[in-house]
Subunit: 159 residues, 2 copies
DNA sequence: CCCAGATGTTTCAGTACGCAACTATTCAGC
DNA sequence: GCTGAATAGTTGCGTACTGAAACATCTGGG
């Protein structure tokens, strides 16, 4: 059991600013997206995934995998999206346990209608606020964090 | 109505990495904190605020203000924290509409017990993953975002 | 004074999510 | 083939949050 040093001033500054900025930014983007698309960002992400998939179709478990989320969330979310008419479910012939989520024409239309406003929002509150150099730095930083989080994802600090 | 240009490759890369990294990081920190302190980050933040306030006391509306959250969340949260014995409520003499939330000794103890593990977690998944230079860059970036979000906070992209 | 509007807080209804328990299907080993 | 373990997905319950409406109290203009 080793002693972990407290954060110094600079680390403290970065951590506090990052924590707050992140929360406020995500809140803002969520609001904008809700207004533009009538759905939360997580649902939007599902539609994006489906729109980019061959046949506009993905298996539930694939959706769970690519969104890094639990199966139950996919069930709930696809249920809602189905109710909205944006997604349709089809049984999977090759594996009778499985289901396909298929993006409907209405879903694609909703996505295309919302996308410009979404981009606008990301620009207005993130990209255009920063210098091109900072955008690039943020990319590097995020990728480094991702690498850590995705690889040693099972490791917890002390335990 | 002006055309907003789509994101170029570099912007796209940063935005996608940032979005995912942020979500995964926050999830991880939330889990760690839940394990260390038995409470969500937002409750932890309330205890921190109270611990730093004179008399370990703040008004409900102040808590809402400093956490950038809605009043109803404070009511719920303080209710839970009160149940846990970490916070006590006192009526406010000078304004009979108001209530004070007071951090109890147990609350302070819980906070002090959880803090080292929390710091450890922030180090392990954020600070120590980055170079000191990147930590500093992230601080600058976050502060720039904060400045934007806090000032023009009422402005939405197109509307 | 007193009443209208502002402010502080709670309550209620509704959303998104995780966890744990469950059903149904597939697969591996014998 | 058959049985037991792994996998796919759903369901139900509990938690944290929001927005709107309700309610109490305060404040300022007549």
């Amino acid at each position: 059991m080793t002693e972990t040093p407290w954060l110094d001033d600079e680390e403290q500054r970065s951590w506090r600013a990052f924590g707050l900025a992140t929360r406020l930014l995500l809140d803002r983007l969520e609001r904008d997206l809700q207004e533009a698309a009538g759905m939360p960002p997580t649902y939007y992400e599902l539609l994006v995934l489906l729109s980019e998939a061959p046949g506009r179709t993905m298996r539930m478990s694939e959706l769970a995998h690519w969104t890094h989320s639990k199966p139950s969330r996919i069930t709930h979310a696809i249920g809602k999206l189905e109710q909205a008419g944006w997604v349709r479910r089809e049984p999977l012939a090759s594996d009778r346990r499985g289901w396909l989520a298929v993006l409907t024409d209405e879903g694609l239309a909703a996505l295309r209608a919302a996308a410009p406003r979404h981009v606008e929002s990301v620009r207005a509150h993130l990209i255009d606020v920063l210098s091109p150099e900072q955008v690039s730095q943020l990319g590097d930083i995020s990728e480094k964090l991702l690498e850590h989080l995705l690889s040693g994802s099972t490791a917890r600090p002390s335990a």
